[in-house]
Amino acid sequence: MEFTREIYWNVGHGAETLIPMYLFAFIAIGVMVRGILKRVEVYKQGLPLNRTDHPGKRLLHMVKGALLQKKVVRVQWPGLLHGLFFWGFGLLFIGTTLIVIQADFTDLFFDVKFLKGTFYLFFSITLDVAGLVCIFMLAGLLVRRFFFPPEGLVTKNDDFIMHGLLLTILVTGFLIEGSRIAVTELGTPLSYWSPMGLLVANGISGMGEGGLRALHKVIWWSHLLMVMGFFILIPLTKFRHIFTSSTNFFFDDLGPKGKLINLDMENEDAETFGTTHLKETTWKDIFDADACTLCLRCQDRCPAWNTGKPLSPMKVVNQLGEVAFHNPDANLIETFEKDVIWACTTCFACQEICPVAIEHVRKIIDCRRAMVLMEGEFPGEEVMTAMEATEVNGNPLGIGYAERADWASELGIKPLAEDAEVDILYFVGCYASFDKRNISVAKSFIKLCQAAGVKVGILGKEEKCCGEPMRKMGNEYLYQTVAAENIEAMKSYGVKKIVTTCPHCFNTLEKDYRDLGFEIEVESYTVFLQKLLTTGKLRINSRELSCTYHDSCYLGRHNTIYDAPRALIAAAGGRLIEMEKNRAEAFCCSAGGGRIMAEEKIGERINIKRVRMAVETGAETLLSNCPFCLTMFEDGVKGAEVEDSLKPKDIAEILAERII
C-alpha cells in the first residue's frame, strides 16, 4: 500500500465542499486585498522616493531580513521564538498550498497526485513537527507578552486577537488531523509519521466513528473560516506586519548607511524645506509606521529614552502612522513635540536593531530641517551661537579661523597652501584643531605618521567644519555651504587620500560629500594606522594597559568599523575589558546629532551613564576614537566623580606613547 491520505476526507470532494470553500476564500482574499489597497492609498499621501532600484539586491535583502529572520533573532529569546514560529508557520503554509495544488489542480484536472509515498511521509512528519513547534513558540510568546511583559511593552486588542486566533487555528488543525487519524490510520505504520496527530487521535478515539466524523466536519469548517478570518484581519490588525515588515526590507535604504537625503538648495520653487506636515514626508515614512510591530527594541536602546528624555523612536514612528491614518493635516512637529525631536543623538541604535528595517533617524532630521530652515529655531541659544560661529569662523567653537593650524606649527606640519606634495591630507576637524584636550590627539596622530614615514599635510585655515553637527541639527544650508568650501579646497590641491581622526568628519566626507561631487578616498585613522602596523611601517612597543573601549556611534554603527580599533589596542598591549554594551550595541556618549553644540537639559546625563558603564569594567583607561566622545568622557568622569580612577584617552594617544 502506498503512503498517502485522502484529501477532503469526510468533508467531501464535490461541489458541496469546493463551492463554499472557494467562495469563502475569494471573499476573504478580496476583503484582504481591499484592506491593503486602502492602506496603500494612505502611503501615497507621502512624497515619492525611489526604493525599487536594484531589485535583485533588494530581493536578497528581503530574503535575509524576512525569510531568514536575520535581524529578528538578534535579540535572542523572543527573536528565536518568533523565528521558529515564523519558519514553522511558513512550512504549514507551504504544506497547505501543496494540498491545494494537488487536490484542486493537478489531481482535479490531470489525475496527478504527488503527496504520496516517501515524500508524503516526510511531508506528514514535517507539518506535524512544524505545527507543534508553532504551538510551543506561540505559547512562549504569549506567556512572555501576557504574563511576564518587559517594561513598556504595549499590548493592544490586536495582540489578543493575533495570539488567540493563531493558537486556535493551530490547535484545530491538530484536532482535524487527530479525528481523521482516529478513524482512518490508527494501528497503521502511517500514523507514526504524524506523531502529534496520533497523540490527539489516541486521546479522542473513544468517541466512536460517528462522533469523530461529526467533530472532524465541524472543526474542518471552523478551521477554514478562521483561516479566512486571518486573511481578512491582515490589513486590519498587526497581522499586517507579515506583508509590511517583510516588504519594508525590499524598500529599505540600500545605503550608504545612515546617509541623509540631500536637499536641493538651488531649487527656487521650493516653498518648504524639511517636514512639518505629512505631505512633506515620503511614502516610505508612512509605510515604516505600518511595518512597526511595537517590539520595543529601538526604545530599549535609545540613549535619550534611557536617560529620562521624552524621545522614543518607536513612538515617533507610530505617531507618524496615527497622523497618516487619522489626522493627515496635523502638524507633525507639534505631534512629536520639539523636545523629542531635539533629543536624538543620531546614534543609530534604533535603526541598527530594528527587525523590520524602519528608518527612524531620517524622520527626526527631517523635522529638524523644518524647524531650523523654516523657523530659525534651535534647541537652545547656545546652538544658534554655534551655528553663527560656524558661519563666521568655520567652527562651532567660535575661535578665530586663522588660528586653526596653530597646533601643528611645532610639529613641522604645513598647510597644503605651502606644500601640497604629501602622502595624505589629514582632515583635522574642529575639536582636534581648537580644543586643548583634542589637540593632543591630533599631535599623537601626526607623531605616529611621522614615525611611519608618512608625509602629512593639512588645509590649515582653509579647513572648515565638515558640517556634520550642523547637518544633523537640521541646518542643511550651512552644511552645504561649508561642505562646498571644503570640497573646493581639497580638490584644488589634487589630494589623493584623506585621513580623519574624527568619525563624524569621516562619515561626512566618506558619505555625505559624495552627493556634492567629492570623490577623494577617505579613511578613518584607525584603519589607516592598522595598515601601517600590519605592513611594518609603524612599529610600537607593546606595554600593558588596563582598558575598556567605547565604540563611537559614527565609527561603529554608522560605518561598522569595530575590529581595526581593537587590533590597535591589542597591538599597544591593551588588556581590553569590554563593556556590556559594545560594538553594534554600544551606548552613545551624548554628543552625536549636533548635540555636541547643545546643553543636555532634560533627564540624566548620557555621558555620565556611559562613564559608569566603563567604571563597571574595572578598567583604568576609557579608550575611544572620537573627539566628541573624548570631550564628553572628560566631562563624564568628573560628573561621575571617577576622574582619579578612570582616564579617558584616544587610541592615537596610547599608540603615540608606545612609538619605538
Binding site: G376, M384, I399
Partner: protein, 257 residues
Amino acid sequence: MKILVCIKQVPDMESKFKVDAGGTWYVKTDLAWRMNEYDEYAVEQAVQLKEQVKDADLTVLCIGSDKVKETMKKALAMGCDRGAHVADDAADTKEPFQIAGIIAEYAKDKNFDLIFTGMQSQDRGSAQVGILVAEMLGLPGITTVVHFAYNDGIIEVKRELEGGIKACVKVASPAVVTCQLGLNTPRYPTLPNIMKAKKKELLSIPVDDLLKIESRQETAKMYFPEKKGGGLVLEGDAADLADRLVKILKEKTGVLG
C-alpha cells in the same frame, strides 16, 4: 512707515588682532567678518517693528567696501526690504562724525519715521554715530535701549544706565534709537528668507555723493595695552588660604577698607 537701520561690518572679536603699519588701525588679513553685535539688535528690533505695524518699508544702510554686502545680505535675510550700500573702501579711516554725516546726508530727504542702529561698534567703540545722526537730522536720539515699544507714533523705551538702573523714556517719532545688549534675541534667518534676500534691492552709492563734511578728529595711535604683572596662585589648606587672601587684599587693595 519708513524705517532705516544702520549697520557696520566688524571683525569677529575672537580673531587675533595686529596693529597695522600706520599704527592707527588693525591689520585686515586673517579676520572673519560679521555684523556688529549691537547692530544685530537694531536690525531685529527694526524687523519686529515692521512686523508689528505691517505697512512699513525697512532700509538697511552700511558703509564700506563691496565685502560689507555679505553682512547686508544677512540683514536682508532677517527681514529688511532693501539695502543702501555706501561704497567706501576707506570707511575705517573715517571718524564717527564723518560716518554720521554720510548717514544723515542719505537720510535727510527720505522722511524716515525711525532710525535704528547699534549703541556702538565692536571695533572702534566710539558710540557716537547714532547720536550724531540724530543731532544732524534734528531728531530726538535715545541711546542704550534695552526695551522698545511702539504704538501709534509714540515710542516708549527703557534705557540701561550704570549699575543696572533703567530709565523709561517716551518720545514721538521720528527719532533715532541706539540698541544695547538685552534688547532682543536676533533671529536666525530662515532659508526661504535667505533665498528672497538674494533678490532684494541692494544699491551702491559712491561715498563721495554723501560725504559733505570734513573730519574733526584724528586717531593718533593704536596699541595693545602693556603686559603687566601676572596672577598669583595660592596653595595650601582652606583656612590658611583665607587668611593669606585677606592679608593680600588689605595690603594691595582697598576693597576691605
